[in-house]
């Protein structure tokens, strides 16, 4: 077996192609840029969940909490007259990170089921808070008057979604590179160890709780930035950014894509949202049935998600090709 750190140093061609295709999105799917940028944002959000679920083994059904905190942070900043996008991202990262750090102590304590309940609870609490604090959040009606300034002082957010797409892609790419480094670092490897056998890791002398708290905080920062991106590109924030539904859909996206495989979140978000978009256009009333059927089919055929299934198919194909080469 190869050591993951070495594998990480050589970047496979497939990965380069993946990002090049995304960059070529401006020409490949020019009329679907608003959808594509929301896919990227959902993908980034799914990466965040992957950090805690796929790499640290913490199940969470309240991840929208940090997404929402980020969205509101960026939204409130922009609605108070400071619409510079990057400072919004920074503020969102700080606020979501702080919220994540504080709540991580509650989350990390328990085991799977308690964690599920605690994270759900945190999500519901923050949702209710946003609903109540109408002076800050606009409550149920949503936050009004977000005015975004042009990106880097030159690119105005346009209705075709070009700038939004470029912006989301750049931010997602940078954060992805960072995540890649983190999960393949000794820190990331220790977390995988904790995921698979926390007792053993504790016995080996690893500070299990502290590592989990660090990872959870990092994931919250990611979620916050994703939320801020959505707020800034939509130029609106409603209480639904904190909704349970958003957390649950996120979980579905990640599982559809595949957990603990870096690209699972991005692939899952793309599959889920494109299917959603296509089916709801076919029939705006009953599309959920088909989406449900589609998701069940995916999970039936690939237990480890779309990405896992693809990798397995590729491996099988390679083995067969090798065999054929040997026989001839």
């Amino acid at each position: 077996m190869s050591i993951p750190t070495q594998a990480a140093r050589q970047i496979p061609v497939a990965e380069i192609v993946f990002w090049l295709v995304l960059a070529a999105g401006f020409w490949l799917w020019p009329s679907y840029l608003p959808l594509a940028s929301q896919v990227l944002i959902a993908g980034l959000f799914a990466l965040s969940l992957d950090l805690v679920l796929g790499y640290a083994g913490i199940v969470s059904l309240g991840h929208a909490a940090y997404f929402g905190v980020g969205a509101y942070a960026a939204g409130v900043l922009a609605s108070h007259g400071w619409g510079e996008p990057f400072s919004g991202l920074l503020l969102a990262a700080v606020c979501a990170g702080a919220t994540g750090f504080i709540t991580s102590f509650l989350v990390v304590r328990g085991k799977d089921l308690t964690r599920l309940m605690v994270t759900t609870g945190i999500g519901l609490l923050l949702f209710e808070l946003a609903n109540r604090l109408t002076d800050v959040t606009g409550g149920n009606d949503g936050l009004l008057g977000m005015e975004m300034r042009p990106l880097l002082g030159t690119f105005r957010f346009d209705m075709y979604g070009k700038v939004a797409y470029g912006y989301s892609l750049a931010v997602t790419f940078v954060l992805f590179l960072l995540m890649r480094r983190v999960v393949n670092s000794p820190f990331g490897l220790s977390l995988r160890g904790i995921r698979d056998n926390p007792g053993r890791m504790l016995a080996l002398g690893y500070p299990v709780h502290r590592r989990l708290i660090a990872m959870y905080t990092l994931a919250s920062v990611y979620a916050g930035i994703a939320g801020a991106l959505l707020a800034q590109t939509t130029q609106f924030v409603g209480t639904d950014v904190l909704s349970f539904n958003r957390s649950a859909e996120l979980m579905v996206m990640l599982i559809v894509g595949g957990t603990g495989m870096l690209y699972g979140g991005l692939v899952g978000a793309a599959v889920f949202m494109v299917a959603h978009h296509y089916l709801s256009d076919l029939n705006p009333s009953y599309w959920q049935f088909w989406l449900g059927a589609f998701l069940i089919a995916i999970v039936m055929f690939g237990r480890d998600g779309v990405l896992g299934a693809c990798l397995r198919l590729m491996r099988a194909w390679r083995v067969r090709a090798q065999k054929a080469a040997l026989e001839s």
């Binding site: 679907y32 075709y160 639904d240 709801s280 705006p284």
Partner: protein, 389 residues
């Protein structure tokens, strides 16, 4: 030579035909509505209302065939914004319409301004919406608009002490604020208020508290649907009516779509709103007939379907007045001050605020000959404007 001329003639003819065809391009209306999730009913009502209008008035106006493109927001504002973007940039719609929920309308407002697309709000009721873009016109109602007349009517009919109960979210708080304002300004007294949670509310303790406070009436605002049904059941079980406490509310509580699910509990409840299926007019009969043809008779039409019907009427009129060439600014000029013979009664789009000016009816729930419950109108306030603007 002759051949050359013929060719020229043929190509000119082809060009002319092509030009003519483009003038006959369909009139596209992009409907941004909720057709799945908790608010799917909103979208169904609006979709059916719009289709009913096309059924009754034909699907061609000013020489252009009307094409309805429906997109689901799932009740989420960022999805609403995205689908609206697609409608504008890909489908090149002439109008944006629909909008059951306030956040969706607010999220799309800046897009209407940027794209200069007329945006017809068929339901969403927060007062602030029309101020967010000069391209928005509303044909539904605003919550303060239906709430203020309830307070006025109560005062006129000897009710001086009222307890208020509203759902704890934006519209509920708006309704509470407006009711208190109008009621206390007219000399009434609020003896208590309570805001009930949005999730799984249990009304029994609140109702007991109200019963103990002995007001003359309780004013209620709850979102149409399950909550209203739950409240009505509790109200009957706790026998507040027998304690002499009247129930007054906005029309959402006894909304036409759900009133049948409430048993006999709502009999005698007094509400104010702009539309009831029991409204007696030729326009309403035509509307109900067309609605039944499109949607069947299983589900009753409600005020949202009427909003969509009137929205279509407004867009048809704009198309006629502009000879089928829809320009955002010109369309808004036509919409300002437009009068519509609505199934609800006369409706004018206020030229100053682009909000509806309409009659608000006072209704009482009664059982009709067919054994079903209806909101029967018995008093009215004419030409009511949004009191907050």
């Amino acid at each position: 030579m002759f051949k050359h001329h013929l060719k020229l003639l043929a190509s000119t003819a082809a060009l002319l035909l092509a030009a003519n065809a483009s003038a006959q391009a369909p009139l596209k209306i992009g409907m941004v509505v909720e057709t799945s999730g908790a608010f799917a009913d909103f979208g169904m009502q609006m979709m059916n209302g719009a289709r009913a209008y096309m059924k009754a008035h034909g699907d061609t106006v000013a020489g252009r065939k009307v094409e309805l493109i429906v997109k689901d927001t799932t009740g989420v504002p960022d999805v609403a914004k995205r689908v609206a973007q697609e409608l504008v940039t890909n489908d090149k719609v002439d109008f944006l319409a629909g909008f059951g929920l306030t956040p969706s309308a607010l999220a799309v407002a800046p897009l209407a301004t940027e794209a200069k697309k007329p945006m017809i709000v068929m339901n969403a009721a927060a007062s602030v919406i029309t101020t967010r873009s000069p391209y928005i016109a509303r044909v539904s109602f605003t919550l303060p608009q239906v709430t203020a007349p309830m307070a006025t009517w109560a005062l006129r009919n000897g009710i001086k002490k009222v307890y208020t109960l509203v759902a704890d979210y934006g519209p509920g708080i708006d309704a509470e604020t407006q009711f208190k304002k109008t009621f206390t300004a007219g000399g009434g007294q609020i003896v208590g208020d309570v805001r009930t949670p949005m999730r799984n509310p249990e009304f029994a303790p609140f109702l007991q508290r109200i019963k103990d406070a002995r007001p003359q009436a309780v004013f209620v605002f709850l979102p149409a649907g399950e909550q209203a049904v739950g409240f009505m059941k509790g109200f009957a079980e706790r026998e507040l009516d027998k304690a002499g406490i009247k129930l007054i509310a906005t029309g959402d509580v006894t909304e036409d779509g759900v009133i049948d699910a409430m048993g006999d509990a709502p009999l005698g409840v007094i509400t104010t709103q702009h539309y009831s299926v029991a409204h007696d007019s030729a326009e309403n009969k035509a509307f109900l007939k067309a609605y039944a043809e499109v949607a069947g008779t299983k589900q009753r039409a409600n005020f949202m379907a009427v909003g969509a019907w009137d929205g279509m009427a407004a867009m048809y009129e704009v198309a006629r007045r502009l000879n089928g060439n829809i320009d955002g600014d010109k369309a808004m000029e036509v919409l300002k001050g437009m009068k519509i013979d609505s199934p609800r009664g006369p409706l004018t789009i206020d030229p100053a605020t682009r909000d509806p000016i309409e009659t608000i009816y006072v209704r009482k729930v009664e059982k009709a000959k067919d054994g079903k419950l209806y909101n029967v109108e018995f008093d009215q306030f004419q030409n009511v404007k949004d009191p907050t603007k």
